[in-house]
Amino acid sequence: MIGQENGNLLEVRGLKKYFPIRRGVFSRVSGHVRAVDGVDLALRRGETLGLVGESGSGKTTTGRCILRLLEPTEGSVVFDGVNLLGLSPKEMRKMRRELQVIFQDPYSSLNPRMRVGSIVGEPLIIHKIAKGSEREHRVADLLCKVGLDPSAMKRYPHEFSGGQRQRIGIARALALRPKLIICDEPVSALDVSVQAQVVNLLMDLQEEFSLTYLFIAHDLSVVEHISDRVAVMYLGKIVEVAEAEVLYRNPQHPYTKALLSAVPVPDPTAKSERIALKGDLPSPAAPPPGCAFHPRCPVAVEVCSRVVPRLLDSGGGHLASCHLVHPDSSGAPP
């Protein structure tokens, strides 16, 4: 019962996911893509933890490993006191009632041949929760909750706009009354005006059903808006975690600083104080030694290229993994 005593719903420890690179006729494994390379995360009950990072940083893979849609290579995922990685496939299927997911693309994540009523009602059948008119009643209720007319049940996904489809996806995720929803870029494919509607809906539903969200996104302003705390990922690792407000006002890791400075501000009078980064994201198949960010870091020092910094608390739950923030962060873990 590790998770319950300190109020955490989910605890991820040392999560790793390596994808083998196979070469040649015998598909010999010639290396690994370290998509997720030792991630520690904790989600408190009822909070929204934002997970941000650029493409290829491992955000989505982290989400999928937590749900065991991908089998992690190493680590532990403790949900409500139960280690998910120790569960049999049957037990895991039962557990999925508690953990749901909302996907990025509202077009490809709904089966075009199923009516909305069946899409939203399917989880109720699979988990043998409701049948017949009871199920129909529940589906109608769910559709109302996400702001759709119950008559939507009889229609097909293609009859809806992107924003409405995302509402259908949310209704499906809510059907089993989960405790945790992993939102994987839920508003990235939507237009600005519709994006705001869906963000509001997610916040309202969180309050009503006391949900916990892991909110994965690359849009820093949206993440700041919806999250209580934010974790920043770079090349398979978490580099900084803090309360949303603190992170945006006082970022510590040079990567977080650069990332925040690059966001275009909708204000033509704002002066650009962008911190330029050298080069592109390195390949996760051959991450640089030491701190993975050091080849692009504007303030890197000698130790950064040799020693991997640890994610340490600089007070008030503000964690950062940087030798400059924590000069003692090279030591072995206690």
Binding site: D191, V192, S193, N200, I226, D228, P264, V265, P266
Partner: protein, 338 residues
């Protein structure tokens, strides 16, 4: 600025698509101009007709779409009236276009050097060898490190940001006067986006380019445009210098759009607030109601808005807006005081 003839003048452009369900007006009578050396930002949500506008300027609309009406004057010449060989001379040489998906816009089976060289040789009589030397120079210009080596790379060997730099190099190869950039950074990560926007700004000054920058991202527009035109449902609803439109938007759609964007660092004292969203959805282009297209979502809608269509009319200064709140309808008994 007003005395000089604009480089590009779009006058009452209408683009229609014939579909099985009926005729769609993707662009519904829009007019705007781009002055020499300025960047006009065209902002709007998906389906509002921004990209179709750019494609129409180069006559790249293919059936079932067609340009139904209007004039596109480039240096005073109507591009809709010139012959096919003549418009081909305009494409790339006078007006260049870069797209959202740089990886998809490049041919995967040719090296980037060959593709840039091809673009040069379409419009100039130079040898292939000279064209390749020029390609290396262009790659250096767009700040690709080690251009002598990268010129032999295939697109898949480059990152998305690098591919967009190649596209920009290619678009500049024939020294165009107008560069149209259609969501040039939408597919890129924020740090790369910032680099590309800086590059475009620098090149614009260096080559004294005019630019039509199309984006849905208000932050991108705010940082790069001199003037902004806001599109909604195939129409321009507001046009103004960039500072004015962000400081005091006039059209209810522009106001709603600016409010619905979460601001970085916009949280105070840990409070999560609801975002002021615009209710409803973009109207279905197939079943268009009479009146202002924004009326069904507008918080300040009046009776006249559902009956008559507002025109884009001048306001003070260089501003224009298409809204009855600012231009009471002709013949309307009670003008609304605001």
């Amino acid at each position: 600025m007003e005395t000089q003839a604009p480089l590009l003048e779009v006058d009452n452009l209408r683009v229609e698509f014939n579909t099985l369900e009926g005729r769609i007006r993707a662009v519904d009578g829009i007019s705007f101009n781009v002055q020499e050396g300025e960047t006009l930002g065209l902002v709007g949500e998906s389906g509002c007709g921004k990209s179709i506008t750019a494609m129409s300027i180069l006559r790249l609309i293919t059936p079932p779409g067609r340009i139904a009406a209007g004039r596109i004057l480039y240096r005073g010449r109507d591009l809709l009236k010139v012959s096919e060989p003549e418009i081909r001379k305009v494409r790339g040489k006078e007006i260049a276009l870069i797209f959202q998906e740089p990886v998809a816009a490049l041919n995967p089976v040719y090296t980037v050097g060959n593709q840039i060289a091809e673009a040069i040789r379409v419009h100039n009589k130079v040898s292939k060898k000279d064209a390749l030397i020029e390609a290396v120079r262009l790659l250096r210009l767009v700040q690709i490190p080690d251009p002598e080596r990268r010129v032999r790379d295939y697109p898949h060997q480059m990152s998305g940001g690098m591919c967009q730099r190649v596209m920009i190099a290619m678009s500049l190869s024939c020294k165009p006067s107008l560069l149209m950039a259609d969501e040039p950074t939408t597919a890129l990560d924020v740090t790369i986006q910032a680099e590309i926007l800086d590059l475009l700004k620098r090149l614009k000054d260096e080559f004294r380019l005019s630019m039509l920058l199309i984006s849905h991202n208000l932050g991108v527009i705010a940082g790069s445009a001199d003037r902004v035109a806001v599109m909604y449902a195939g129409r321009i609803v507001e046009e103004a210098p960039v500072r004015e439109i962000f400081a005091s938007p006039k059209h209810p759609y522009t106001i709603g759009l600016l409010r619905s964007v979460p601001r970085l660092g916009g949280r105070d004292r840990g409070v999560r607030r609801r975002l002021p969203a615009i209710p409803g959805n973009v109207p279905d282009p197939l079943s268009r109601e009479p009146g202002c297209p924004f009326a069904p979502r507008c918080t300040e809608v009046m009776q006249v808005c559902r009956r008559e269509e507002p025109q884009l009319l001048p306001l003070e200064g260089e501003r224009k807006v298409s809204c009855f709140l600012h231009h009471p309808a002709v013949g309307e008994g009670k003008a609304v005081a605001r």
